[in-house]
């Protein structure tokens, strides 16, 4: 549990880096670091398949999407960065204090009690659950995939048209 605590603390620090940093690129890297920490925790919690997905998709693909999006945006000048930093310090000063306070309160308030665990699917093979028992979810995923691709194509086609007109 000690290693878990270290990993969870690093995860929280990376999340704070995501929220508090002035530069968007550092925020995106902080998010990737959070994902990496969650991946290690998933491996520790005997979920290697979910860990691999988290590492390859969340820490890899989503970071690439974020960095691509950031690359489309004009970078800030040094003067603007200074101004934004001052504003952000005022706005986000409460967050670390709030997190520490809520953490302390939760540690003291929450006490172990007995919980009723509902009966769930007792299948141990992930592939069998995905392909045999949760087929409707997969159908939903396919629909979302098609909608996502269609949406991106439509949005980027319009941007391309406007760029050509200019």
């Amino acid at each position: 549990m000690n290693y878990d605590l270290i990993l969870l603390v690093i995860m929280m620090l990376a999340a704070l880096m995501t929220v508090l940093s002035t530069r968007l690129l550092i925020a995106a890297i902080g998010l990737a670091l959070t994902s990496v920490m969650i991946t290690i925790l998933m491996f520790k919690l005997k979920s290697p398949l979910a860990g691999v997905f988290e590492l390859s998709i969340c820490a890899g693909l989503i970071t690439v999407i974020f960095i691509s999006t950031i690359s489309f945006v004009k970078p800030l000048t040094d003067k603007e960065i200074d101004e934004r930093t001052k504003q952000r310090i005022k706005k986000y000063l409460a967050l670390p204090i709030l997190l520490i306070l809520i953490g302390i309160i939760l540690i003291f308030i929450i006490k172990p009690t007995t919980l009723q665990i509902p009966l769930a699917i007792q299948e141990t093979n992930v592939r069998k659950i995905l392909w045999d028992l949760r087929q409707v979810d997969l159908l939903g995923q396919v629909i979302i995939l098609l909608v996502g691709v269609f949406g991106i194509v439509v949005l980027f086609r319009d941007v391309q048209k406007e760029t050509n007109k200019k």
Partner: protein, 106 residues
């Protein structure tokens, strides 16, 4: 559920709640569209970790993993479409300020 697993759940639960609060705070306090997306990602990560922890404790880790895989796949498409919309808004308004898109046409 025995005491050890319940303690593990509470131990992870504190950090999951803190991650959720950081995500919500990021969404509520910022005016930058990309940061709102980053906040949404943090919330999704907290949910993903919560599903895995609950699956581990209840002994349904396979079901939890399958749910997490579905969550991650859907998350990617949500982020991709949202990023495309943000780029479009940036091309139209030349800014990432969320206040510029308050008045919708049509």
């Amino acid at each position: 559920m025995n005491t050890i697993s319940l303690n593990l759940f509470l131990f992870y639960g504190v950090f999951i709640i803190l991650l959720l609060i950081a995500g919500f705070y990021c969404i509520l306090a910022t005016i930058n569209l990309i940061r709102i997306l980053l906040g949404l990602e943090l919330i999704t990560k907290a949910v993903t970790l919560a599903i895995i922890v609950v699956g581990y404790i209840t002994g349904n880790i396979a079901l939890a993993q399958s749910l997490v895989i579905i969550v991650i796949v859907i998350e990617v498409f949500v982020i991709a479409v949202a990023a495309a919309i943000i780029i479009r808004i940036y091309k139209l308004t030349d800014s990432l300020d969320v206040r510029n898109i308050r008045s919708l046409k049509g």
